[in-house]
């Protein structure tokens, strides 16, 4: 076997799959969903569009997670937080777009009317601007990740310690967001979205557009991640994962490397969250629960760490299985899911990708 880190990504087969995926997302799905009549057996219903859209959002997160875990060796148990922050940032805009169509028929979001708030709290400043919120989607998770990462990496917090404090971070944020006083709707979160850029959200066209944008983002993320990981930067990252001390003695300031990929990963998660919210129609602090973040790590592990395409498959498999099992055997699905996790770790230490690679 030749080649080190850089030469193992995407053989011709990988590129073919990617091309096929593009065709599916931008060609086949829209046609089957919008052009084929609903009673045709070939029609793809809105359920499938939103379900696949949701899974693609998860896949973006999984790829972002793979960047930090698979390549830089930083296991974050708090990535759900960045995802949720992106979702909340964009959710603010969606809430403003409801306009006066809420339960109270008043221009402010229902929960604010109810809390007797006469003015928007500071967090909501300019939230009726799409571009402002779109910027927040990137800035808020990015900034938090940057500040947190700066201190953590500078203090050389690593391994399980880092994992645990990321978990503490997301747990603390969850409790904070559960409070009504925080100004984000408490436990109910944001829901009941009506419009996006003044276009009604619950139409097949909007839904398909969101789906396509999500698909494009996923592909973009994959390409970006591939570019990163095949550059010398990526090789440094992998080197940090394997022997951080040596990298430092080679003259690299590892803090900045980790910080860069960490922040980037958080930003990608934020974008995924922003795409996720209009498609599933709700964002609530539950997204920040530690269990959700652990699950992200599980998608990556199931798919195969450090393979980029593997986490994507992992996210698809686990969530597909979840969607299927919860209706096929609602009483016993946890057994199946738990068993999958155990079997994968025991028998497929490199995840599904490792298995596919071996078969080749």
């Amino acid at each position: 076997m030749t080649g080190g880190i850089s030469r193992r990504l995407y053989g011709p087969r990988g590129w073919a799959i990617l091309a096929l995926f593009c065709v599916a997302v931008f060609g086949v799905m829209p046609v089957l969903n919008l052009a084929v009549p609903a009673d045709s057996p070939f029609h793809v219903s809105a359920y499938w569009v939103t379900l696949l859209g949701k899974i693609m959002c998860y896949a973006i997160v999984a790829v972002a997670m793979d960047l930090v875990w698979g390549y830089a060796g930083i296991l974050s148990l708090g990535h759900g937080l960045f995802f949720a922050l992106g979702g909340y940032s964009f959710g603010m805009y969606l809430m403003r777009q409801i306009g006066s169509d809420g339960q109270y028929r008043q221009p402010m979001p229902d929960f604010m009317v109810f809390l007797d708030w006469k003015e928007f709290p500071w967090q909501w400043w300019n939230s009726d601007s799409f571009w402002w919120c779109a910027m927040l989607v990137i800035v808020v998770p990015g900034l938090l990740a940057y500040v947190f990462g700066y201190f953590a990496f500078r203090s050389r917090v690593k391994g399980v310690y880092l994992s645990i404090i990321t978990q503490a971070l997301t747990f603390a944020a969850m409790l904070l967001f559960f409070r009504n006083a925080t100004g984000f709707g408490g436990n109910n979160g944001f829901t009941d979205f009506r419009r996006i850029l003044d276009i009604p959200i619950a139409t097949p066209q909007t839904r398909m557009a969101l789906f396509a944008i999500t698909g494009a983002t996923l592909i973009g993320t994959l390409l970006l991640a591939r570019w990163l990981t095949t550059s010398r930067f990526g090789r440094v990252l992998a080197a940090i994962r394997d022997a951080e001390q040596r990298v430092m003695f080679c003259g690299y300031d590892t803090v900045h490397y980790k910080l860069f990929v960490w922040t980037l990963s958080a930003v990608i998660c934020g974008v995924a969250g922003a795409l996720y919210v209009p498609q599933v129609g709700i964002i609530n602090p539950g997204e920040m629960s530690p269990a959700n973040s652990i699950e992200i790590a599980i998608w990556v592990a199931v798919g195969g760490r450090g393979t980029l395409i593997g986490p994507l498959i992992g996210a698809g498999l686990v969530n597909g299985a979840k969607s299927y099992f919860t209706q096929a055997f609602p009483e016993y699905w946890l057994f199946a899911l738990g068993l999958i996790f155990i079997l994968v770790t025991l028998f497929l230490p490199q995840g599904v990708m490792g298995f596919l690679g071996k078969k080749k």
Binding site: T2, G4, R232, F233, A239, D242, F249, C250, D253, H256
Partner: protein
């Protein structure tokens, strides 16, 4: 106790300058350590250690287990901060204030006791990563290898005799080859000072031989500090030897001086 002359360090304004500028070695000394003490939970790993290395010198450091050899290297490379004492690289660079990466960039390379290379990277990539270059994030994102850099890697590959294995994954190399690769990585950094912790451990006689030759050829251009247990090897390459014991310098001098030093004999042959 120690004979090393380190009195020249305290020269006024040079103190405390965090330097990225070139190495000022006007006094012909590349490294000064003075009165370094380090303790771990009450255990004194280094006890007022003073040592200086001249430009182009090849110094061997020996000493029984626990004498503080590795800790000394940790202090020089910034991995461990001394409780007290000063470490200067040249005349101006205060190493106790720099991070590992900064120290490395300033021109100090280190080889670990246990070969640490990037096991999942190819040999070529290992050398590429350690090559002297701008190592800031932005640059590594967009950099590609110039032909001069490629030549330099090829040359090093030849020096460490791994030119047939350039594309092999480093983790698959033999132990001796890994040692060589690590030395190659040091060379790619083009350091002024090389710290080598047991470089020939696990090498065949033949490999050891060649390593010795390599070191001797490096001395002059670079300064080398070699920590080694293999006395035959030390004897072959050493010009000046420092013996550490219980965190301090026990003796210093040529091989024969050291061998005849009663204190050294007592420590090594013991009561």
């Amino acid at each position: 106790m120690s004979i090393s002359a380190t009195t020249a360090t305290g020269e006024g304004g040079s103190l405390g300058r965090v330097a990225r500028e070139g190495l000022d070695s006007t006094h012909g000394v590349v490294l000064y350590m003075e009165d370094i003490s380090v303790s771990f939970d009450g255990f004194k790993a280094l006890n007022k250690l003073s040592l200086s290395i001249d430009i182009g010198e090849l110094r061997c450091v020996i000493g029984p287990n626990g004498a503080g050899k590795t800790t000394m290297m940790d202090v020089i490379t910034g991995k461990t901060r001394p409780d007290e004492g000063t470490v200067y690289f040249g005349q101006t660079i205060d190493l106790t204030r720099l991070s590992e990466a900064q120290i490395s960039t300033a021109g100090i390379g280190r080889k670990f006791q246990k070969p640490t290379i990037f096991e999942h990277h190819s040999v070529f990539e290992n050398l590429e990563l350690s090559m002297k270059a701008d190592k800031r994030v932005r640059k590594t994102l967009f950099s590609s290898l110039s032909s001069a850099q490629k030549d330099s890697i090829a040359e090093t590959l030849k020096t460490i005799r791994l030119n047939d294995s350039a594309d092999r994954v480093a983790g698959l190399l033999s132990h001796g080859q890994k040692q060589w690769l690590e030395i190659g990585m040091l060379l790619m950094q083009e350091p002024r000072l090389l710290l080598l912790d047991e470089p020939v451990a696990g090498m065949s006689d033949d490999e050891t031989e060649r390593t010795g030759e390599l070191f001797l050829s490096l001395a002059g251009k670079h300064s080398l500090v070699v920590v080694e247990h293999d006395m035959a090897f030390v004897e072959k390459i050493a010009r000046k030897i420092t013996v550490l014991h219980e965190g301090g310098v026990l003796a210093e001098g040529s091989m024969s001086e050291v061998q005849n030093d009663p204190k050294v004999i007592e420590v090594y042959l013991g009561r």
